[in-house]
Symmetry: C2
Subunit: 228 residues, 2 copies
């Protein structure tokens, strides 16, 4: 469980959590002992995803499927894994439920068909757009944009570090703890303006996946002793 | 020596090459057998840097110090290592000498005092600004923004990959060959729009250097078999 002077995290909401990103994170955090609320517009879909994850943990998880709004309302921290096309709409609909909480934005602003080319929204990045929408009441942290969810779901080694950017240092530190609880290595990558780098890196990794015929290229920070 | 259907590289100019970045690259490429022209506004400074590098190679290098304009004029490929404050002026002054050549831009648009925060110029990145200035006649490739020049100069292992972005695939491939000849691993990181990621990553690495008290954090691509 995360525990810092500012916030104690027990319940994690994963909005738009029915895809592999949401289920992968839910699986990792459920194993670490967090209560997970998977959110979707349709409760049935959310519940089906929650059941999948429950089964993956051998029935040993505290996980439930609810609407996105309920998930955001009931959680201590809110993670969002949606396609960029749904980013703004989702944020506007849950904004009232985010006040005083940290929003963890996993969104990468890919613009099909050129997903290997970095194309940021006018705000500078998806995370900066999120911050503009949610305003002062909610800290926004961007993370988990580069990892392979196939590996996270299958329990294989995720050979990719997590660069954590965000609108306050305390919020980044809270999320780095969650990264570690998910079995990954997290690094403080600085202010939210730096999220363009991490979001954009996904396009570069997709290009490398295509070029080399692999599924999960990633990055590692070198030159600093690794924590286990 | 680099050799692809489009261009054979024998002579490398390093503009603004009297700092550690320029000397580090000059040292690596001189050892690989390239003829190096170190450029500076003052020939004396360029010659002193060339002498330093010559000495580091035990006198076994073909290296010379000349003006920036002469270096650009006489080289097959032109590498630029200048502080961002000198970026535009330098490009405007050597533009006539770059036609038909590849420009390798090593510039990171750091804006003191907040060098750990990504702050890109209106063009999107230093490399995109360079492309706007030099125009259609010159391909621009961005590379080498993240590596530790201390390690390159001392001959220690540079534990950092080189992400190569640029305005044409052929130009990126030419530069990846030069990366390998310098003893590093290079990756095709896609179109020049992606240079924002690699330039911005430098700010993140500077932040990590400060936080962890190290001098040369870097990145490695994972999940793809490494070439030696």
């Amino acid at each position: 469980m995360s525990d810092n002077p500012e916030v104690t995290i027990r319940v994690i909401a994963i909005l738009g959590g029915t895809g592999k990103e949401g289920k992968g994170l839910a699986f990792a955090w459920a194993k670490a002992g967090y209560k997970i609320l998977i959110g979707s517009r349709q409760v049935e879909k959310a519940q089906a995803a929650a059941d999948d994850v429950l089964q993956m943990t051998g029935g040993k998880a505290d996980i439930q499927g609810v609407t996105n709004t309920e998930a955001a309302e009931q959680a201590d921290i809110v993670v969002m894994t949606v396609p960029f096309a749904a980013h703004r709409t989702m944020l506007e609909s849950v904004k009232p439920n985010l006040a005083g909480k940290i929003l963890v934005d996993v969104t990468v602003p890919l613009v099909p068909p050129k997903v290997t080319k970095v194309q940021m929204p006018p705000a500078g990045s998806a995370a900066q757009e999120a911050k503009e929408i949610v305003g002062e009441a909610t800290e926004v942290v961007a993370a988990f944009q580069n990892i392979s969810y196939e590996n996270l779901l299958s329990g294989e080694d995720v050979e990719c570090d997590v660069l954590v950017t965000g609108s306050s240092k305390a919020a980044r530190e809270t999320v780095i703890k969650l990264v570690e609880d998910a079995g990954l290595i997290g690094w403080d990558a600085g202010p939210i303006e730096n999220s363009v780098v991490v979001e954009g890196l996904t396009s570069i990794l997709i290009g490398l996946n295509k070029k080399y015929g692999v599924e999960s290229s990633g990055i590692r920070i070198t030159g600093i002793p690794r924590r286990v």
